[in-house]
């Protein structure tokens, strides 16, 4: 039943809906172009996409592969369509399997996690929708100092927190990565990278990402680091 009927059905519709979402997610970009006539130059879009791909390209493949055993087949389609996986979908699926007393890894567990993830999607779509509308008006009503503070300091605080979260397991790699990035950024700001074509921000990103990765690999081969016993996510 599960292998012969449920899984093929999920594969068929999962692929269709996720591909449809790829097309429809262009909505805001298309609205900016169609309604307001705003289209960035191709070079800027390509440059931005290349930077994002260098930074997150790993995660496109690593995350589905590493969460798949927990999420199951339907859960993988749903979780990567709706996002917020480690902080929302995984806990919901795990809690539901626990509460309905099914054995992890069985087809029954996969059915329960499908039901739970669907439920979580209904809840968070509605809550975030209401919240977005309310927060926009709240934000516009704030006094100047706090609006400025939200615009200027919320982002660095989030970046600091996420860096700490990843760096907790590998403090030495975090320190090395930060040193490389800071040196490259200072070189850029003082104009020492001007020999490179156009605005060489990409050089800072590439050297930071690949430099840190190569050093980490070298350290691993020399037994200087090891993965933590338990993954933090």
């Amino acid at each position: 039943m599960y292998q012969d009927s449920f899984v093929p059905y999920v594969n068929k519709w999962g692929r269709r809906t996720n591909l449809l979402a790829v097309a429809l997610s262009l909505g805001p970009a298309v609205a900016l172009l169609g309604v307001f006539g705003i289209l960035p130059p191709t070079a800027a879009i390509v440059g931005a996409f290349a930077s994002v791909a260098v930074t997150f390209g790993w995660a496109w493949f690593i995350e589905p592969l590493s969460y798949y055993p927990v999420l199951g087949i339907p859960g993988t389609y749903m979780a990567f369509l709706s996002g917020n996986i480690s902080n929302l979908r995984l806990p919901c699926a795990a809690a539901a399997q626990e509460a309905s007393d099914v054995e992890t890894g069985t087809p029954q567990a996969s059915i329960i996690s499908t039901v739970a993830i669907a439920a979580s999607i209904f809840v968070n779509t509605v809550m975030l929708g209401i919240g977005a509308v309310a927060l926009v008006s709240a934000f516009q009503a704030l006094p100047e100092l706090w609006r400025n503070a939200l615009e200027s300091y919320l982002v660095p605080a989030v970046f600091g927190a996420i860096f700490a979260q990843f760096g907790r397991d590998y403090p030495s790699i975090a320190a090395i990565g930060f040193t490389i990035a800071l040196v490259m950024t200072v070189l850029l700001e003082f104009g020492y990278l001007a020999f490179l074509p156009s605005y060489p921000l990409y050089a800072v990103i590439i050297v930071s990402v690949f430099g840190t990765t190569l050093i980490a690999r070298w350290m691993w081969h020399h037994d200087m680091i090891s993965p933590p016993d338990e993954a933090s996510e």
């Binding site: 307001f36 929302l88 615009e151 300091y153 490389i180």
Partner: protein
């Protein structure tokens, strides 16, 4: 930001959000029906659904707190769409920053040009499709790929991906640290708050602290930035 919060942008986000809901409805209906035929009781299925609803409330509020940062920078509709479809704060903020940086702007700058804003939207959109395409085409092959990869270098994979992530976020941090003293304070205090919260969550095994850690660390870091701005100002 008039464009960013306009009615047209709200409307443009509706279709893709509908797809998310539609997929959830299709899968839920089929799982319910097939689940019963596989011998799961109605009661167990209801428990699964209810637990899903209840466990989603806390984390959703936490995501809402994180959404404030995105609303302040890209407006309500895009923030809602990006966090309902595909995204998480940890991806969307950096992606937006990378888009803006094509024109030399940074998140939080006054009067960002409309073109730079549109580039941020494109960067988030195209960047997010990576996960959608991998899950659309790859899910049915996951089992095969996993067994191939884990052949040998299994232990190196988490280290390499953590290092790539750390390298990328180190780049974001260095941009903030060179921007000024309040920004540096926000980075440092946000990071330390996160470490403290995760330490407490781990040592006492309290799940809700883990869910709230990013939202809480974010606000503590924000307050640190404001405190430095109104006291010592910026030294560089």
């Amino acid at each position: 930001m008039d464009v960013a919060n306009s009615r047209w942008l709200w409307l443009s986000t509706v279709p893709v959000v509908m797809v998310v809901l539609l997929q959830a409805a299709i899968f839920l209906r089929r799982a319910w029906k097939d689940g019963k035929e596989m011998g799961l009781s109605e009661e167990k299925l209801k428990t699964g659904f209810k637990t899903g609803v209840i466990s989603a409330i806390g984390p959703s509020i936490a995501v809402l707190a994180g959404m404030l940062a995105l609303i302040a920078t890209v407006g309500g509709p895009v923030a809602w769409m990006r966090l309902t479809v595909i995204g998480s704060i940890a991806f969307e903020l950096p992606a937006a920053e990378l888009g803006l940086s094509q024109f030399g702007y940074s998140l939080g700058d006054e009067s960002i040009s409309e073109t730079a804003y549109a580039t941020a939207v494109w960067a988030m959109t195209l960047g997010g499709t990576g996960w959608l395409l991998v899950s659309a085409f790859g899910t049915r092959h996951m089992e095969t790929v996993r067994s191939k990869i884990s052949n040998g270098n299994e232990k190196l994979i988490p280290i390499i991906s953590a290092a790539a992530m750390l390298g990328a976020f180190a780049y974001f941090l260095s941009g903030e640290v060179t921007a000024g003293t309040p920004e540096t304070g926000a980075v440092a205090v946000g990071g330390l708050a996160m470490l403290a919260l995760l330490h407490v969550a781990d040592s006492r095994d309290i799940q809700w602290i883990r869910e709230w850690s990013l939202g809480a660390a974010m606000f503590v870091g924000l307050l640190a930035g404001v405190a430095i701005q109104v006291t010592v100002g910026s030294w560089w």
